[in-house]
């Protein structure tokens, strides 16, 4: 029989008896393949959610309302004080809006990864491993919940409020900084999600630890850095560079001094840091996936 390992028949290639491939496999960049698969799976979940439109609207609204309480707490605080750590309400609102939107984006796109631990323990990850697309994309897109968009809407609303009330001396750099910090922020949170997922391969309760970093981090960043102890700020900046998400760039936009002694251009490192931690998380993920050992039944 002819060598069939690398057969590339036409689009509807003819088939020899003995079973060569009908259609050829083409090497494609993994990242693109992953994104494509992610899109396919997400699309399917969205379609199936939309079949129950009323319930979707309800849960999205519920989601929005629940997260809105976060900001209401801050507003209530300001009815007693004029400033928090030297920051006015609109300034805190900017911090809050950036952090909440970034986290919301990441939660919308990758929130499903929290369930990975269960898949590892009960062995259902097996079924994702036999499909021809990257596992990370499948895990991230699994049961994509569009209702998580509520968090983003709420974050954006606060952001808009902040921008409307603040009196900022806008420069082109400051304007550019806005989308950059939201997107790199989401990317840093995303890296924490992926690293957390990688950790779930080895530790049973890793998702709790991950939540501490993500939810905890997002909450932390909603307040001005000046109200926290220096050591905490240092840790958030250098160990898990969440500060690059919002504190540093937002403070640049607000013309405020960062509590740590850092030059101002550091604020522009946000995208670089995002890419770097993203790459690290990707490596952790690959290493973790190799340790997967399925289950006995």
């Amino acid at each position: 029989m002819a060598e069939t390992v690398a057969v590339r028949p036409g689009p509807e290639g003819s088939r020899e008896p003995g079973g060569s491939a009908y259609f050829a496999y083409e090497e494609r960049p993994r990242v693109l393949e992953g994104l494509r698969a992610y899109g396919l799976i997400v699309g399917m979940w969205v379609r199936s959610t939309m079949a129950y439109r009323a319930s979707f609207v309800m849960t999205t609204f519920g989601n929005l309302a629940a997260t809105a309480f976060d900001f209401l707490t801050i507003v209530l605080m300001f009815t007693h004080v004029d400033a928090l750590g030297g920051y006015t309400l609109p300034e805190v609102a900017l911090l809050y809006g950036v952090s909440a939107t970034a986290f919301g984006l990441c939660d919308l796109l990758l929130g499903s990864m929290e369930r990975l631990g269960r898949r590892v323990r009960d062995g259902t990850l097996d079924t994702l491993l036999v499909r021809p697309v990257p596992v990370l994309a499948q895990v991230a897109a699994d049961r994509f919940a569009l209702r998580r968009i509520g968090r983003i809407l709420q974050g954006l609303a606060v952001l808009v409020y902040a921008l409307a009330t603040l009196d900022i001396a806008w420069t082109p750099l400051k304007v550019a900084m806005l989308p950059v910090m939201v997107i790199s922020g989401a990317a840093v949170f995303g890296a924490v999600f992926v690293a957390g997922a990688a950790f779930q391969f080895v530790a049973q309760d890793a998702s709790q630890v991950q939540s501490a970093f993500t939810y905890g981090g997002a909450t932390l960043l909603q307040y001005p850095p000046t109200i926290f102890a220096k050591d905490l700020v240092r840790g958030v900046t250098f160990v898990v560079p969440l500060a690059f998400v919002s504190w540093l760039p937002t403070l640049y936009v607000l013309d405020r001094d960062y509590p740590l002694d850092l030059p101002q251009w550091v604020a522009f490192l946000a995208p670089v840091v995002a890419v770097a931690v993203g790459a690290l998380a990707g490596l952790a993920w690959r290493a973790a996936l190799r340790t997967y050992r399925s289950t006995g039944s």
């Binding site: 029989m1 079973g19 491939a21 259609f23 399917m44």
Partner: protein, 341 residues
């Protein structure tokens, strides 16, 4: 290992030249921790697959059997790339599964009887649609394959039912279809008939048979139902404790298992146990049971019944007789027992 070359293993397909699936001393060792005392934990090794070598040619249909915990599922997981072998060499269609898992995925289909590869909350139809896009199956092929599966596996009425609402047998048929939409060259089935009723089993077997005959799909099948093997596979491999115990034809198992056929004779009246001495070669058969005029005689499965019957007819008042074929289950059971440590 008892035997590796008995019978019709891959007749005419040239086993050995064209190893489509090739295993060479493949091992899988699991490190497990066990509680030993209050806090102390003991590490120890489970050798799930312990040096297995075999080849499967393109287009073969092979049964892979063995007792619980023998290492069947572990082997299949290595063949799909889910698990990385701890040792040895493994190739499927020239691909190292664990290193190029996604590349291999386009060429294999997998059915786990124990769990579904479908999306639990979605109707079958949506799962299939997603596969269509995910595997980049040309539209026409997809439609042809889907239609064929729907017809032969009787899926028509199930397409719009969410997978979690399907019964075990319905889900299994849905899973088999899902594994075949992208025209895989190899199909691995890990207990595909588990929990199926008689009709579903027959349907699935017929489907697999046709798939193998018409498309030349290579099939590797694990099962605890030996009828599956009898009806589908000319070649069977038996493993136990992670080692290959037998590789050959199903018929060959009888020889290896020293199985016996049973001759049941009805005599005119009650008589003492039949005793037949052949010249110098010991008894032709041994009497296992006497019940009134009826006697049961066991003789080697490989021997012919004719001389035995002739002798009895000549020396005893014979009324009636019947021959019972050996029970393959019993043969396998003896084999599993013999292998136990």
């Amino acid at each position: 290992m008892l035997d590796t070359s008995v019978g019709a293993a891959g007749e005419g397909t040239g086993v050995g030249h064209d190893g489509f699936i090739t295993l060479d001393g493949v091992e899988k060792v699991f490190q497990v921790r066990r509680k030993a005392g209050l806090l102390r934990r003991e590490r120890h090794e489970v050798r799930a697959v312990d040096g297995i070598s075999f080849q499967v040619a393109r287009g073969e249909m092979v049964g892979y059997i063995g007792p619980n915990g023998a290492g069947k599922s572990t082997t299949i997981k290595m063949l799909t790339g889910i698990l990385t072998p701890s040792g040895g060499r493994l190739r499927v269609a020239g691909i190292d599964p664990s290193r190029e898992r996604t590349r291999l995925a386009h060429r294999i289909g997998v059915v786990f009887g124990q769990r579904t590869t479908l999306w639990w909350d979605l109707p079958l139809r949506d799962s299939y649609r997603l596969m269509h896009r995910m595997y980049r199956i040309p539209d026409r092929r997809y439609q042809e394959n889907l239609d064929r599966c729907v017809e032969l596996l009787d899926l028509g009425e199930l397409l719009d039912v969410p997978v979690r609402q399907l019964s075990l047998g319905q889900r299994m048929r849905g899973d088999i279809a899902a594994a075949l939409l992208h025209d895989p060259e190899v199909l691995y089935l890990d207990e595909p008939t588990i929990g199926l009723d008689v009709i579903s089993k027959a349907k699935v077997r017929q489907f697999l048979k046709e798939l193998n005959a018409e498309r030349g799909t290579t099939v590797l099948l694990t099962t605890h139902d030996l009828t599956d093997i009898e009806q589908l596979c000319r070649r069977v491999m038996v493993i136990d404790h992670g080692r290959l115990m037998y590789d050959g034809s199903l018929a060959g198992l009888h020889e290896v298992g020293e199985s016996e056929r049973m001759l049941v004779v009805d005599l005119e009246r009650e008589l003492p146990a039949i005793s037949l001495e052949s010249e110098g070669a010991g008894p032709l058969a041994r009497v296992v049971k006497v019940e009134g005029p009826r006697q049961w005689l066991a003789f080697p499965a490989s021997a012919s019944a004719a001389p035995l019957v002739a002798r009895i007819a000549a020396e005893y008042p014979l009324m009636d007789l019947s021959v019972r074929e050996p029970d393959i289950e019993a043969v396998i059971a003896r084999m599993y027992e013999a292998a136990a440590p």
